[in-house]
């Protein structure tokens, strides 16, 4: 009830802010934008199916020439089925159904001083077994007639994860949480594990020629605290131990991303190429390459345009990952030191994504619905096929079907 009241308050505040700004705005100046979207993510392969519906609403308004505010709300409505134990398929029980509901609400402010913009914000995330408080700060600069922009952001997240209270119990005897029942209610059998996440990102974007824009970005993240999934467990030593997944408490992650956008003037199109290299202290490394093509259906009437993209991704496994199909699996050889995981994202994997996005832009001399000067609609579809690079990774059925994931989205953005 309190959560619903809080959400209603945020929504009302966002609507009021937008309405006041729109009413006070002249038709020839934009004061902000409102955005709404719904995304549906499905992993359709039985029995490890998954469905995630993500509605999101954001609002941004420029209260003064130099000062803007933003509010946002995102939810994840998750339902699906997954095995709770990672072990030989003939001895682990079938997938267990689960559902989750996650809410994130946030607000921020941005101040512009000369060529620089300084931002700060706060987000609060809640679900049955997880709480998150995120503080974010940023500074960006826009130089040489918008030909050079630099941005630096920092965020710190204070997270709490519900878990069974098991003080002093050895790692291989720790048991998983069965359900979120009783979490964050002072239940004497449960505890709240903490996780702190620091994230720094820097980006340089530069106009290279009249038709070419490039950007180079780097990010670093430090995670300290409980990083296991409290529900997952791993069979060790032929099943004598069936313990809650054990991940290291510290993880350092870094990534470098390079992007190029080339304008093909004769077609009014843009060719994009992205490359991302990622490495972390758990020995997971990945390389991502993406090509995209953005072009109007009709150059004479460019309101409708399409964007198609293809992305390839490959990653190595964590240093403590042991595949069920190998001779040194957890089941046959025990843990890798202190650690054992049932997380598919720590296994060697590859994937291919093919996506299409259809976008409609409209601008109005007279405000649409007495509010918007421009409205953009976008419809997107992605097909993802993942490839296992080991014999039997966690959630292996998701990798064997014709589609590992299907993603569809619709969004609307209005400027006022």
């Amino acid at each position: 009830m309190r959560r619903a009241a809080l959400l209603a308050l945020v929504a009302a505040a966002a609507m009021a802010t937008v309405a006041v700004a729109a009413a006070g705005a002249r038709a020839d100046e934009e004061r902000g934008e409102a955005h709404g979207s719904v995304r549906v993510f499905a992993q359709p392969v039985s029995p490890d199916w998954l469905l995630v519906i993500t509605p999101a609403v954001t609002g941004k308004v420029r209260a003064l020439k130099w000062l803007a505010f933003d509010v946002d709300w995102t939810a994840d409505i998750v339902t699906g089925a997954t095995p709770r134990t990672y072990g030989s398929p003939d001895v682990v029980s079938s997938a267990t159904q689960f559902s989750e509901f996650r809410n994130v609400i946030g607000a921020g402010a941005a101040a512009t001083v000369g060529p620089a913009t300084i931002t700060a914000g706060y987000d609060y995330g809640t679900e049955n077994d997880y709480r998150s408080h995120l503080l974010r700060f940023g500074v960006s600069g826009d130089f040489f007639h918008h030909n050079t922009t630099v941005a630096l952001t920092y965020a710190h997240s204070f997270d709490s994860i519900c878990d069974l209270l098991q003080p002093g119990v050895p790692l291989t005897l720790r048991q998983p949480l069965d359900s979120a029942s009783g979490c964050f209610s002072g239940n004497a059998s449960l505890t709240e594990e903490s996780l702190g996440i620091d994230t720094v990102e820097a980006t340089l974007t530069q106009t290279l020629t009249r038709t070419l824009v490039g950007s180079l970005g780097g990010s670093y993240q430090h995670l300290s605290g409980f990083q296991s999934n409290p529900y997952r467990r791993v069979r060790l030593d032929y099943g004598l131990f069936q313990a809650q997944e054990s991940h290291p408490r510290v993880r350092d992650r870094g990534a470098v991303t390079a992007r190029i956008r080339w304008a093909v003037a004769s077609l009014a199109a843009t060719l994009g190429a992205d490359l991302r290299l990622y490495l972390d202290s758990w020995a997971v490394g990945s390389l991502t390459g993406e090509l995209s093509w953005d072009m109007p259906f009709d150059r004479a009437a460019p309101a409708w345009r399409y964007v198609v993209r293809a992305r390839g991704y490959a990653q190595t496994g964590a240093t403590f990952y042991r595949d069920v199909g190998y001779a040194d699996s957890y089941e046959k050889a025990g843990p890798a030191g202190q650690y054992f995981t049932a997380d598919q994202e720590l296994a060697p994997l590859a994937d291919l994504l093919l996506g299409a996005r259809f976008v409609h832009d409209s601008s109005y001399d007279k405000r649409k619905w007495k509010m918007f000067t421009a409205v953009e609609w976008a419809f997107s579809f992605d097909y993802v096929k993942m490839f296992a690079l080991t014999p039997e990774p966690p959630n292996a059925p998701r990798l064997r079907g014709w589609a590992s994931a299907l993603v569809a989205g619709v969004s609307a953005t209005g400027k006022f």
């Binding site: 291989t172 359900s179 009783g182 449960l190 030593d237 069936q242 202290s281 490394g285 202190q338």
Partner: protein, 141 residues
């Protein structure tokens, strides 16, 4: 360029975590024969733990999952590796909820008794005193 990449890879390799030593905790492998003769029929079956919708292997809840075991139970003294798979997996699943150092604190006992409200159906153990005595005898015969 390749030199810079090599330096980056080596630098990052140096940052990779050390997996540490394997924990030396022993499993709480209580007497398997006592499981067959007492714990399974007089506790798990008597309290209907393995019924559909509860802790049935295929459609149950929680980490305790119980097969419908083979009609002929393993003979006393038979090595666990030679047990029929249903009986063996039921034993292995059950001992995960047992504490050899403090049998009375075993989740096998506390959760179905409804302690701390972690058992959605509520308390189901019919005879708590007998159950506690049985677990004590199982761990420390």
């Amino acid at each position: 360029m390749s030199r810079a990449l090599a330096v980056a890879v080596l630098t990052c390799a140096a940052c990779t975590i050390d997996n540490g030593a394997v924990p030396d905790a022993a499993p709480c492998a209580a007497n398997p024969d006592f499981f067959v003769s007492d714990v399974y029929p007089k506790y798990l079956v008597a309290n209907q733990c393995g019924t559909g919708g509860c802790h049935d292997f295929d459609d149950g809840h929680g980490s305790l999952r119980l097969h419908a075991p083979e009609p002929t139970p393993p003979s006393p003294g038979l090595g666990l590796g030679d047990w029929p798979i249903g009986w063996r997996e039921n034993y292995l699943s059950t001992i995960q909820l047992l504490r050899c150092d403090a049998p009375a604190q075993s989740r096998l006992l506390l959760v179905p008794e409804g302690i701390s409200n972690l058992h959605p159906p509520g308390p189901v153990v019919l005879d708590r005193a007998a159950a506690a005595a049985m677990l004590q005898a199982w761990v420390a015969p």
